[in-house]
C-alpha cells in the first residue's frame, strides 16, 4: 500500500501542444492584469490577424473577443450558433485562424471545421468535453484545449498557428 508512485509534471503532458511561451517565462500562467487592462499598452501578438470565434456561451465569447482585440486582432463574429457560424464563414473571405467551441447548444461544430480545413484555415478546438479521442479521430492533428483555458494560453496557440 505504501509503494511510492511518481507523477511526472512535464510539458506536453496535458492540454494540447507545447506551450512555448510558458517555458520562456517560467513563471506559470499569467493571470495578471495586463491582458485585462483597458487603455494600457496593447500587446501585439495577434496584430492584424483576422480571428474567427465560434462559441455558444456569450460571456466567454465576449471575454475572448476582448482579449484577442487587446492583442490587435480583428475578431470575426463571435458566432453563437452553428447557423451563425456558417453564415460568417461563407461571407468572410479572409480568415487567418479560428477558435471553435465543439458543442454549440447541442450541435457539433464539425461542419465548420470541415469548411475551414478545406480552405486551409488553421483552428483550435475549445471544449468542455474530455472527448479528445473523437476529435482526434475526425480531425487528426488538430489542437484541442479543454475549458476553462486562459485566453492568454489561447492567444499563445493562435499566434503560432495563424496564417
Amino acid at each position: 500500500m505504501n509503494t511510492t508512485f511518481h507523477y511526472p509534471v512535464k510539458l506536453g503532458n496535458r492540454d494540447g501542444g507545447p506551450a512555448g511561451w510558458l517555458a520562456s517565462s517560467g513563471k506559470g500562467p499569467a493571470y495578471g492584469s495586463h491582458s485585462v487592462q483597458a487603455g494600457g499598452t496593447p500587446h501585439e501578438r495577434l496584430l492584424g490577424k483576422r480571428v474567427l470565434i465560434v462559441e455558444d456561451e456569450a460571456l466567454l465569447a465576449l471575454e475572448l473577443q476582448l482579449a484577442f482585440e487587446d492583442e490587435g486582432a480583428e475578431v470575426l463574429g463571435p458566432a453563437l450558433s452553428l447557423m451563425k457560424a456558417l453564415e460568417t464563414v461563407t461571407h468572410e473571405r479572409e480568415i487567418d485562424v479560428a477558435v471553435l467551441d465543439v458543442d454549440l447548444a447541442g450541435e457539433d461544430v464539425y461542419p465548420i471545421a470541415e469548411l475551414l480545413l478545406q480552405r486551409g484555415v488553421p483552428f483550435i478546438f475549445h471544449t468542455a468535453h474530455g472527448s479528445r479521442n473523437v476529435l482526434s479521430g475526425l480531425f487528426p492533428g488538430a489542437l484541442t484545449c479543454t475549458k476553462p483555458t486562459l485566453p492568454d494560453t489561447l492567444i499563445g496557440h493562435l499566434m503560432r498557428l495563424a496564417r
Binding site: M1, N2, T3, T4, F5, H6, Y7, P8, V9, K10, L11, N13, R14, D15, L22, A23, G26, K27, G28, P29, Y31, G32, S33, V36, Q37, A38, G40, E57, L59, L60, L62, E63, L66, A67, D103, A128, H129, G130, T146, K147, P148, L150, P151
Partner: protein, 441 residues
C-alpha cells in the same frame, strides 16, 4: 459488474439442475413406457387366463350335462322295459337329441382349448356314449319287437352297466382334468392381477415424479428469465448513469468557464494596479484544474491524490519534469476533499511563483506524501512541500510579515480537512507540511 458469490452459487445451481434434468426426464419417460407395456401385457394375459378358465368351466358343465342326459336315457329305457309304455320313450328320444347337441358343444369347446388333446377327449366321450346308446337301443328294439325275455337278459348281462361305468369313469376323469385346468387358470389370472396393482402404483409414482420434474424445470426457467431481465435493467441503469456523469462533467466545466469570464469582464475597467482580478481568476482556474481530474464522479466517489497534484502543478512544468517533483503512495480521497486541497496547493504554488523557487529557472519544488497510522486507528496523510534552489529570501528565518487572505484560507482549508498546516522558511526555501486524517474505508 462482477457477480457476488451468492449470485455465482445460484447460477451454478441452475446449471446443475438443468444438466441433471435431462437424464431424469429421459429415464422417467422410458420407465413410463415400460410400465405401460408391462401393464398392457399383464391385462391381456389375465384376460386370456380367465377366458380359458371360463371355457374349462363350460366344458365341466357340458360333461355334467352329458352325464345327466345319459342317465335320463337310461331311465327312459328302464321305464319302457318295466311298463312297455311308449310314453317312457319320449324322454329317451329327447335325451338322444340333447346328447347330440351336448356332444357338438363339447367338441367345439375341447378343440378350442387344445386341438389334438381336445379331439381325443371328445372322441373318447363320443365313443363311450355311442356304445351305451347302442346297448340302450338294442334293448328297446327287443322290447318293441316283443322279445321281452331277450331284452331282460341283455339288461341283466351287465353289458349296459359296464358301458355306463366306463362312460362315467371317463367323464369323471375328464371333469377332473377340466376342473384342475380351470382352477389353475383362475390362479394364474389372480397372480397377474396381484402383479398389476403394484405396477400401477409405480406408474402413478413415475407420473408424479415427471410432473414434479416438469414444475421444477419450468420454475428454474422462469427464474433464469427473470434474472436475465434484471441484468438487462441493471445494465441499462449503468449506461444511463455514465451518460449522466459525462453530462454533469460537461456542465461543471462550462460553469467554471462562465465564472472566469464574468470575473475577467467585470475586472476590465479596474485600476491597473489592482491585482485582485488576477488573484480571483487564478484561484478559480486552480479549482477547475483540481476538479478536472475527478471526471463525472458522484458525491460518494473517490479520486486519486497523485493526478490532482500533478494536474495543479502542470502550469509550472518544464521539458524534463525536473522542476516539480510529485511522488507518493496511491491514495484515494473523497471528492469533497478536492476543493480544500486544490486551494492549498494553489496558494503554495502562487507564493512559490511570486517569491519562491518557482520564480527562478533553477528553483525546484519537491512534493511528497505518505500514509501512516495516526490516532484512533485512523490513517493519516502527511504531505510535504519543499522548495530548494530558489532566490534567497529577504527574511532568513521567521514568517514573512504579511499574512494575507491566502495564508488564512490555507489554514482554514486544512481545518476543513480535519488536519493541520505548518509552514517554515528555512534557508533553502519554503517548507510546508499538511497533515489530515483519511476517512475510514
Amino acid at each position: 459488474m462482477k457477480p457476488s458469490s451468492g449470485q455465482e452459487g445460484a447460477a451454478s445451481w441452475r446449471v446443475r439442475v438443468r444438466r441433471s434434468m435431462m437424464p431424469v426426464f429421459a429415464g422417467l419417460t422410458a420407465a413410463l413406457l415400460a410400465l405401460t407395456l408391462l401393464i398392457a401385457q399383464t391385462i391381456v394375459a389375465q384376460q386370456d387366463a380367465r377366458q380359458r378358465a371360463k371355457i374349462e368351466g363350460d366344458m365341466l358343465l357340458t360333461l355334467h350335462g352329458i352325464t345327466a342326459t345319459m342317465l335320463d336315457a337310461e331311465t327312459g329305457q328302464r321305464g319302457y322295459l318295466l311298463t312297455r309304455h311308449p310314453s317312457y320313450l319320449a324322454p329317451y328320444q329327447d335325451a338322444r337329441e340333447r346328447l347330440s347337441r351336448a356332444l357338438g358343444r363339447y367338441r367345439i369347446l375341447a378343440e378350442r382349448i387344445d386341438a389334438e388333446a381336445g379331439a381325443r377327449d371328445f372322441a373318447q366321450v363320443e365313443r363311450l356314449t355311442s356304445a351305451k346308446f347302442a346297448e340302450l337301443d338294442q334293448s328297446i328294439a327287443l322290447v318293441r319287437s316283443g322279445s321281452y325275455e331277450a331284452a331282460l337278459a341283455l339288461v341283466n348281462s351287465d353289458l349296459g352297466k359296464q358301458r355306463m361305468d366306463a362312460l362315467r369313469a371317463e367323464i369323471a376323469r375328464q371333469m377332473d382334468v377340466r376342473a384342475r385346468m380351470r382352477n389353475s387358470g383362475f390362479e394364474r389370472a389372480n397372480q397377474m392381477e396381484s402383479r398389476l396393482l403394484p405396477l400401477i402404483g409405480i406408474l402413478g409414482v413415475a407420473i408424479i415424479a415427471l410432473v414434479i420434474a416438469g414444475f421444477r424445470t419450468e420454475r428454474s426457467r422462469a427464474r433464469a428469465t427473470a434474472e436475465a431481465d434484471q441484468a438487462a435493467v441493471l445494465r441499462e441503469a449503468n449506461d444511463r448513469n455514465q451518460l449522466l456523469a459525462r453530462e454533469l462533467n460537461h456542465r461543471v466545466k462550462n460553469l467554471f468557464s462562465v465564472v472566469l469570464s464574468i470575473v475577467t469582464l467585470s475586472g476590465r475597467k479596474q485600476a491597473p494596479t489592482s491585482e485582485i482580478v488576477g488573484d480571483i481568476r487564478a484561484r478559480i482556474h486552480a479549482l477547475s484544474r483540481a476538479h478536472s481530474t475527478s471526471q463525472g464522479s458522484g458525491e460518494q466517489a473517490m479520486v486519486e491524490l497523485g493526478p490532482i497534484i500533478a494536474q495543479m502543478m502542470q502550469p509550472y512544468a518544464d521539458d524534463e519534469g525536473k522542476r516539480v517533483r510529485v511522488s507518493g503512495a496511491a491514495v484515494s480521497l473523497p471528492v469533497r476533499m478536492v476543493t480544500p486541497i486544490g486551494l492549498i496547493l494553489h496558494e503554495l504554488a502562487t507564493n512559490a511563483a511570486k517569491y519562491g523557487a518557482l520564480s527562478a529557472d533553477e528553483g525546484r519544488v519537491d512534493i511528497r506524501w505518505t500514509v501512516d497510522a495516526g490516532q484512533d486507528n485512523a490513517q493519516e496523510l502527511q504531505l510535504t512541500w519543499i522548495e530548494s534552489d530558489g532566490p534567497k529570501l529577504a527574511f532568513d528565518s521567521g514568517a514573512p510579515t504579511h499574512a494575507g487572505f491566502g495564508s488564512q484560507m490555507t489554514v482554514l482549508a486544512a481545518r476543513q480537512l480535519g488536519g493541520t498546516f505548518e509552514r517554515d522558511w528555512p534557508a533553502g526555501g519554503a517548507a510546508c507540511r499538511l497533515r489530515f486524517p483519511l476517512p475510514h474505508g
